[in-house]
């Protein structure tokens, strides 16, 4: 297949076009992705996550520059939210990465969530593979600015860097479940702001309570705009990757990632099949029955599932 050939030979346009196809028409893209899969699995995937404005793009920009100095190639997937009202998006992560746009060893793709929750977009995992096949050594995924529960990144990345900043709330926020549990490395950016020391201590104390973990996440301070602490961050990422490899956790994580992908793909496929039913008025009939108390929603769904499975195995969905 020509496009696969082009991508593994480093054709940026072919890669960009395939990413678009993944976003717009997955079933078509899938046929190409099947053939691309054999050329993937070499890249390391680093996730950067944290609240809006904490400095994810700036940190990505600075780390990438150091990696380029070491001769490594980099892919960056930068995700911003889609408007739930209009479906539009303003993707502005490139503003912090302007110097990288002419470096042929760097490929940046801005992406919107398109209604997907969890901090990533539906197309993220496939895009990682495309950039991997394109020959990028390191792939950064910059999540949307997250709150407390957008933790999908942990299932996609090898290493998760959680970037926070001083002044975002008291110490109870830190012991809440969710986002604070997923960091392999904690970064306090804008470390010249008041409250940095206190935040570092609080995160440190929170982490001390995780006694059963073999990896003890470091807490680092950075001022990304001034390049302070970035080298240290990269060293810690390296250290974490070595740990993953030696402990066998890397394989474990990649198994989790594959599992998540299978679940996502199946859900997506069934959603499509289901929406065909919805389109042709079948759903309306069921809704009417439920509202009129002629049938309960549980039985209706049981019946519907049976019909779906049947029509799926027979190939194609028919109106009934």
């Amino acid at each position: 297949m020509e496009i696969v050939e082009k991508i593994i030979n480093g054709d940026r346009r072919a890669a960009a076009k395939l990413i678009t196809l993944v976003e717009n028409n997955f079933s078509q893209a899938q046929e190409i992705l099947k053939k691309l899969y054999n050329y993937t699995g070499k890249a390391l995937v680093i996730g950067l996550t944290g609240p809006p404005g904490s400095g994810k793009s700036t940190v990505t920009d600075k780390i990438t520059k150091i990696l380029r100095g070491q001769g490594k190639t980099v892919g960056i997937i930068a995700i911003d939210p889609t408007s739930p009202f209009t479906g539009g998006a303003l993707l502005g992560d490139r503003i912090r990465m302007q110097d990288l746009s002419l470096d042929k060893g760097v490929f940046i793709r801005s992406m919107s969530t398109r209604g997907h929750l969890g901090g990533l977009s539906q197309a993220t995992q496939a895009t990682v593979k495309i950039l991997d096949a394109l020959g990028k050594d390191i792939i950064f995924i910059e999540t949307v600015g997250v709150g407390q529960s957008e933790v999908d990144i942990v299932k996609v990345a090898d290493t998760v860097v959680l970037i926070s900043m001083p002044g975002m709330g008291d110490d109870v926020q830190i012991i809440k479940a969710g986002i604070m549990e997923i960091g392999d490395i904690f970064v306090i950016n804008k470390a010249d702001k008041e409250g940095c020391e206190r935040l570092a201590t609080e995160i440190g104390m929170m982490l001390d309570l995780n006694q059963n973990k073999k990896w003890h996440p470091p807490v680092l301070k950075t001022i990304a705009t001034d390049n302070v602490g970035i080298k240290k961050l990269l060293e810690e990422i390296d250290r974490h990757i070595s740990y993953l490899k030696e402990s066998g956790e890397l394989e474990q994580r990649r198994r989790e990632s594959a599992k998540k992908e299978i679940f996502d793909l199946i859900q997506e496929q069934w959603k499509e099949t289901l929406s065909t039913f919805i389109d042709n008025g079948f759903l309306n009939k069921i809704v009417t029955k439920i509202v009129n108390r002629e049938e309960d929603p549980y039985t209706a769904v049981e019946k519907l599932s049976n019909v779906l499975v049947h029509s799926y195995t027979q190939g194609g969905v028919k109106n009934d």
């Binding site: 346009r13 678009t20 028409n25 539009g88 502005g92 490139r94 746009s101 002419l102 398109r114």
Partner: protein
């Protein structure tokens, strides 16, 4: 997965530091359901074209107020040609004198929107062109 979405790069070539207009247009296009990639100030034509390739956009919108449009706009078109890209529509906006417009269109710029343009006209133009 959803269907096709219009992707557009809003870029500011040249040295002027005024991006109010670019931001207003970016916002209007976002509200019209498009995915707008905004890259910030002082972009070279080379940066703009490379970004357009990686982001696989349908449209490039160039905003300029410095007066260098007669040089920078055709330069973008030239670079697109060099990269064998024919499927990206390029439009321009900003303080551009009427008498310069025919020359820019001859260079391949699809449309020029001068100050006072209704953003709805820009949206209509894009939606008609991309498809």
């Amino acid at each position: 997965m959803e269907g096709k979405k219009i992707r557009i790069l809003i870029a500011k070539p040249g040295l002027d530091g005024h991006d109010r207009g670019a931001k207003v247009v970016a916002r209007a296009l976002r509200d019209a359901g498009m995915e707008v990639i905004y890259t910030g100030l002082r972009q070279t034509p080379e940066q703009i074209v490379e970004t357009a390739i990686q982001e696989d956009v349908d449209v490039i919108g160039l905003s300029i107020l410095s007066g260098a449009h007669t040089h920078l706009f055709p330069k973008v078109m030239e670079l697109l040609k060099e990269n064998d890209i024919k499927d990206i529509i390029v439009m321009g906006g900003g303080v551009i004198p009427e008498e310069d417009i025919p020359e820019l269109k001859k260079a391949g710029i699809a449309e020029i929107f001068t100050p006072g343009t209704d953003t709805r006209d820009i949206i209509k133009f894009i939606k008609e062109k991309v498809r």
